[in-house]
Symmetry: C2
Subunit: 211 residues, 2 copies
């Protein structure tokens, strides 16, 4: 059965930004602080390395019963029996992903306008990741999404929506009233000296923001 996902504090990994030696450690510390879902996003590594990391991280997420989402590589998600995949607009389309993954897996799709969000919903996506909301340094080739556009997208679709892109403790409150189901964080959490504390503080702020 498809897991119910709490998207409130959606942690994305990035080895280049984390303050720990291992991804497993960063993920565990973030979960202890309140991360509710984890996306493994490793762009610059081989398939074999990605698979090995996915196996190790899944041991952590399983231990805490936190869903694990794999970025882009459906084959890696299948190989480690992850809870789902997250797909960008240049990745394999959601419809094809659904055929490969079946009905019990989570499929997330990146969308930066209402049209793409509606298409994702139509294609069977379980949630959308919307951004770049605050400007991010972790991805090239991003589209800025204003708070106004974010609200418009929220009103256009029924599936859960996660805001992504440069979200940190200083700007997260700007999302108040947009109806987001959660925020995706990278450097604001895994780039912090105290990852658990950073996650806790972000989770606290999100309690007040979510509708």
């Amino acid at each position: 059965m498809k897991p119910r996902v709490d998207y409130t504090l959606y942690l994305c990994t990035d080895r280049d930004l984390m303050t720990t030696d291992s991804i497993e450690e960063a993920v565990e510390l973030a979960i202890k602080g309140g991360a509710t879902v984890v996306q493994l996003r490793e762009k610059d590594c081989s398939g074999r390395e990605f698979l090995e990391i996915a196996h190790s991280v899944k041991e952590v997420t399983d231990a805490y019963e936190i869903p694990l989402i794999i970025n882009d590589r459906i084959d890696i998600a299948l190989a480690v029996d992850a809870d789902g995949v997250h797909l960008g607009q240049k990745d394999i389309p959601a419809v094809t992903a659904r055929e490969l993954l079946g009905q019990d897996k989570i499929i997330g799709v990146s969308a930066y306008n209402a049209e793409l969000a509606l298409q994702a919903q139509k294609d069977g996506a379980d949630y959308i990741g919307v951004g770049d909301v605050f400007g991010t340094s972790t991805k090239a080739d991003t589209h800025h999404v204003s708070i106004e556009e974010l609200t418009k997208i929220r009103n256009a679709v029924k599936i859960p929506m996660v805001a992504i892109g440069g979200v940190n403790h200083g700007n997260v409150e700007k999302l108040q009233g947009t109806g987001v189901d959660g925020v995706a964080v990278i450097s604001a959490v895994i780039g912090a000296k105290d990852i658990t504390a950073a996650a806790e503080q972000m989770a606290d702020k999100l309690e007040g923001i979510k509708r």
Copy 2:
């Protein structure tokens, strides 16, 4: 059922080297000249683009009843129902690939010494790609494999073996007596002005070389 593959003239694609406008056209011309199996190898493109190219190329290979092998991305192979995958030493391991693909698909593994070749055979690979035999400009991070080592690998394993790496019309005869089941060609065929003629000439030479 797993297709029987004739590995004699194993065509690898590379958009940067081909003389045609489209990969589909290059593949069709090479098949007309005698290519017996096609591997789609596109490293610098998105998952979505790779999927689209794979769909288009499969229409061509299906029309000529030539097996289509996908490099690295098992999810793409599954999505287009390709005949198999080719895996490098840094890709998802063959054992995992077999779990995802089942018994009816071809799995090829790159090996540059007898130990890796034996491991690939043990892991259920259907064939091995051995090289770099003559020095290639199309891949970084390659290992040179001498004719002596190639013969040693041939004697170590039972599964079919394809020599790869800089094979062209001028050097292919050096493979005489090594017991290779075929050669993988890229630029020597798809980089030729007349792709069909280049494939024909290579196929002719290979007739004399194969044991």
